[in-house]
């Protein structure tokens, strides 16, 4: 039975939000604290096809300007959970979706949107700790899916910031992924945007005549 089936998000969220408030006084510390103690960012969810980065590759990550390096690593895992690598093509991480999101948020004039991302990331991490005793980054692929599924399955609860965050995350991830080289060429194998001799189309049994 999945988490979604056994909880009422609207009511039960108090449990993990309260816990966090009593522990750290409601500050944004949980996120940075979790990231600081995250043992191995390069740890991959099971079953993904992405090669494990070489030691040191993580240093280039987080070069964006909205997210801290730890937040950047967290968004990479969030986006990869939305669009994972599979046997067909690379996922959001390989397509550098976190860089795209970082750029969009950095350039955004919308302070509410920026705050919503920070708040959403904090709340997702609290959920992860509540259900799995681990930060989102430390969790396994299956555990990550379990947490995001709660938000995906409760899409109608628009008043909850974590639900709105999930939708923004999903929207930004699909936007970033399907406009990337990997998304367009490897995943979708898009055939256009090149000079064409003749449009193939379909054989119409009643072919048109302009005669």
């Amino acid at each position: 039975m999945s988490i979604t089936d056994r909880i009422n998000l609207r009511q039960d969220r108090r449990q993990w939000i309260k816990t966090s408030a009593s522990l750290v006084g409601g500050s944004v510390l949980p996120l940075s604290a979790a990231a600081a103690t995250a043992p191995a960012l390069q740890e991959k969810p099971e079953g993904t096809m992405e090669p494990v980065p070489k030691p040191g590759a993580g240093a280039a990550k987080g070069s964006g300007r909205f997210f801290t390096p730890a937040q950047h690593a967290y968004v990479e895992e969030l986006s990869e959970t939305i669009i994972p690598a599979d046997s067909h093509s690379g996922g959001a991480k390989a397509a550098k979706v976190a860089d795209y999101i970082d750029q969009r948020l950095h350039d955004s004039q919308d302070e509410e949107e920026k705050a919503m991302w920070h708040e959403g990331m904090r709340l997702v991490d609290l959920m992860s700790k509540h259900f799995h005793k681990k930060s989102f980054v430390e969790s396994s692929g299956e555990e990550r899916i379990e947490v995001l599924k709660v938000l995906s399955d409760n899409a109608q609860m628009q008043e909850l910031p974590e639900v709105r965050f999930f939708q923004a995350l999903k929207h930004m991830t699909t936007q970033g992924y399907y406009t990337s080289k990997i998304g367009i060429h490897d995943e979708l194998e898009y055939k256009g945007n090149r000079i064409l001799q003749e449009y193939a189309g379909c054989d119409d049994p009643t072919p048109p005549s302009n005669a």
């Binding site: 959970t81 939305i82 669009i83 994972p84 599979d86 067909h88 996922g91 795209y100 750029q103 969009r104 350039d107 955004s108 004039q109 919308d110 899916i145 995001l148 995906s152 899409a155 999903k170 699909t174 936007q175 970033g176 399907y178 406009t179 990337s180 080289k181 367009i184 995943e187 979708l188 194998e189 898009y190 055939k191 256009g192 945007n193 090149r194 000079i195 064409l196 001799q197 003749e198 449009y199 193939a200 189309g201 379909c202 054989d203 119409d204 049994p205 009643t206 048109p208 005549s209 302009n210």
Partner: protein, 597 residues
């Protein structure tokens, strides 16, 4: 295969300078479809013409960048986040002017300016305020205007439209019939190029088409199913040259490169735009002078004769005021801007605005209602290898079927659907529920299986839908703003409900799985097909212009854009604007030579 070398405009802008000391044979206000066509026709008759454009001349290929990959663009083709384009909700909830509340955005655009390719073509909303009822007014102030980004659907009107009053008693008939305009549609077809398929429909006459592109499989399925219902689906009739135009060195034939669905124009100009299709060839005659950044604020009038003597304009950059003299004034500033200019041009002899003795300027304002539609999935196509479905100027057009032979009990007039199916650069279905491996795979497997269509219907031309001036609000150049008094009525709402119903019915009949039905109409103005604010007619008491788009009141004043329309029909207006304009300018040049103007 190699691409032909196209003549491109020099990057140095010579369009800022014009000799304002001489008297031109004609001055044209506006450089879109109408102003471009007037330039072409009048210069071909040997008249010396000055063309005024309120905006600048853009380096348009640099704006459009039709083959740029999203990942090579800093914002993946989206609007930079420090700019904002108005959304459906904002248009619906807020009342115009739409400037207040967006102070943080460096630029504020209409909804069509929401891409990196269209942002500089559309105006800054805050420089160009308007008031009154909600209206998504899209304006493109630059050489060529909205033709730089138009949707390219190029349809003819028929006597079902020109003589619509004879059929249902509503409104007025046009002062012309199809046979008057048909030769001019032919000229437009041949001069600018159009792709499509002959269907021999009385309500949607055929053009002289160049090579058509094929429908794809989902579209053929729908076409065959519709044929059984007595309805016609045909290839998108696009104002795009598929065979090329030997007489035009600025335009290439269509190479089906794909990504044509991207809002924005065509940087090889296979799709018609006014500069390469009309204005540059007109300038090559030596008879055309172009002055950009010229915001016309008034048509000048001789107080003794009441005739037009030229125009007053403000330089958009320096805000200096200029006057230029001309023997004939041609207003082609777009339906709403043309009405505004006439209303602004008040004088002793024309106290209600120029050419407005009838009181009809600004009234009978009409357009197309859009929004209702359907999109669905063709199950047979799920999981098939990706196809190239956007390497063509458009998908399909489903022609009008209401109020042709029988009478609909709830509304008069008709609507058609624009649609398409298949793969696109950005996949359909990313709004599906869920996430993760299944989500990704479903998007991939379904990318070629989607088919969608949306309706465009006639909004009745009613006197009580109108625009006037709001002198309490002024634009950046101190010119009074336009105020809207405009709402969809009962007929439109009944028609919109029918659109959503028939759309579902037709998809069900074709065996498509319906994924989403849109019942709600978009905000007034969304179709960007505003028409009718200075309508033609035989009776000067009930119309502004005669059948040659000549003012009943002022002989040497012509209004040659969409404002001349008597009703909106349900067909997209650009081709008709140009055919009418060609006919009117032939008449104008003839009268000019005879000394009758």
């Amino acid at each position: 295969m190699s691409l032909p070398i196209l003549m491109t405009e020099s990057k140095t802008d010579s369009t800022e300078v014009a000799d304002l000391t001489k008297t031109y044979d004609a001055v044209i206000v506006g450089s879109g479809a109408a102003g471009g066509m007037a330039s072409h026709v009048l210069t071909s008759h040997g008249m010396k013409v000055l063309l005024l454009e309120a905006g600048k001349k853009l380096d348009i290929e640099q704006e459009l960048r039709s083959m740029e990959w999203p990942y090579d663009n800093k914002h993946r083709g989206s609007l930079p986040p420090d700019q904002h384009a108005l959304t459906f909700n904002e248009y619906t909830i807020r009342r115009p002017p739409y400037g207040p509340g967006f102070e943080k955005s460096k630029q504020l655009h209409s909804y069509i300016g929401d891409t990196d390719y269209t942002k500089n073509i559309c105006v800054e909303e805050r420089d160009n305020p308007y008031t009154g009822t909600n209206y998504a007014w899209v304006r493109a102030r630059c050489l060529g205007g909205k033709t730089n980004i138009w949707g390219r659907l190029a349809l003819r009107l028929s006597d079902f439209d020109f003589k619509a009053k004879d059929r249902d008693g509503f409104g007025e008939n046009w002062p012309i019939r199809y046979s008057d305009l048909s030769p001019y549609y032919d000229k437009v077809d041949l001069y600018l190029g159009i792709t499509g398929v002959k269907e021999n429909l009385p309500h949607l006459p055929d053009s002289i088409f160049q090579r058509p592109t094929k429908l794809n499989c989902a579209e053929v399925t729908l076409k065959q199913s519709l044929a059984k219902m007595g309805r016609t689906l045909t290839q998108y009739r696009a104002g795009v040259t598929s065979d090329g135009l030997k007489h035009n060195k600025y335009r290439s034939r269509c190479y089906g490169r794909g990504a044509c669905e991207r809002k924005g124009g065509c940087d090889i100009h296979a799709a018609f735009d006014s500069p390469t299709g009309l204005i540059y060839p007109a300038r090559d005659t030596g008879n055309l002078t172009i002055r950009t950044n010229a915001v016309v604020r008034e048509v000048a009038v001789d107080p003794a004769t009441g005739k037009a003597t030229g125009v007053h304009f403000v330089d958009a950059i320096t805000k200096r005021d200029y006057t230029v003299k001309a023997k004939v004034v041609i207003v082609a500033a777009s339906t709403l801007e043309s009405a505004r200019l006439l209303l602004l041009s008040k004088s002793k002899m024309h106290p209600n605005g120029l050419g407005n003795s009838s009181g009809h300027v600004g009234h009978n304002f009409c357009e197309h209602i859009m929004g209702p539609g359907v999109y669905g999935r063709v199950k047979d196509l799920v999981g098939k290898p990706p196809t190239l479905d956007d390497g063509r100027p458009g998908g399909f057009y489903l022609t009008r079927f209401r109020n042709l032979q029988e009478k609909h009990p709830k509304f008069i007039r008709g609507y058609g659907f624009e649609g398409g199916a298949g793969c696109a650069m950005f996949p359909h279905g990313t709004d599906r529920p869920g996430f993760g491996a299944d989500f990704k795979e479903e998007i991939r497997k379904n990318q070629g299986a989607y088919i969608g269509m949306g309706a465009f219907g006639e909004v009745l031309a009613r006197y009580e839908n109108f625009v006037d001036l709001d002198s309490t609000v002024k634009d950046k150049w101190g010119i009074p703003a336009l105020r809207f008094h405009y709402k969809f009525g009962e007929n439109e709402h009944a028609m919109a409900a029918d659109m959503a119903e028939t759309a579902q019915e037709m998809f069900n009949e074709a065996g498509f799985e319906i994924v989403h039905v849109t019942k709600r109409a978009l905000t007034e103005g969304w179709s960007i097909h505003e028409l009718g604010t200075a309508r033609m007619g035989d009776d000067p008491k009930k119309s502004v212009l005669n059948q040659f788009e000549q003012s009943h009141d002022v002989k040497n004043l012509f209004v040659v854009d969409g404002s001349a329309f008597v009703n909106a029909s349900c067909q997209n207006p650009t081709w008709t604007i140009m055919a009418l304009c060609w006919r009117s300018c032939d008449y104008l040049a003839d009268e000019f030579k005879k000394g009758n103007l």
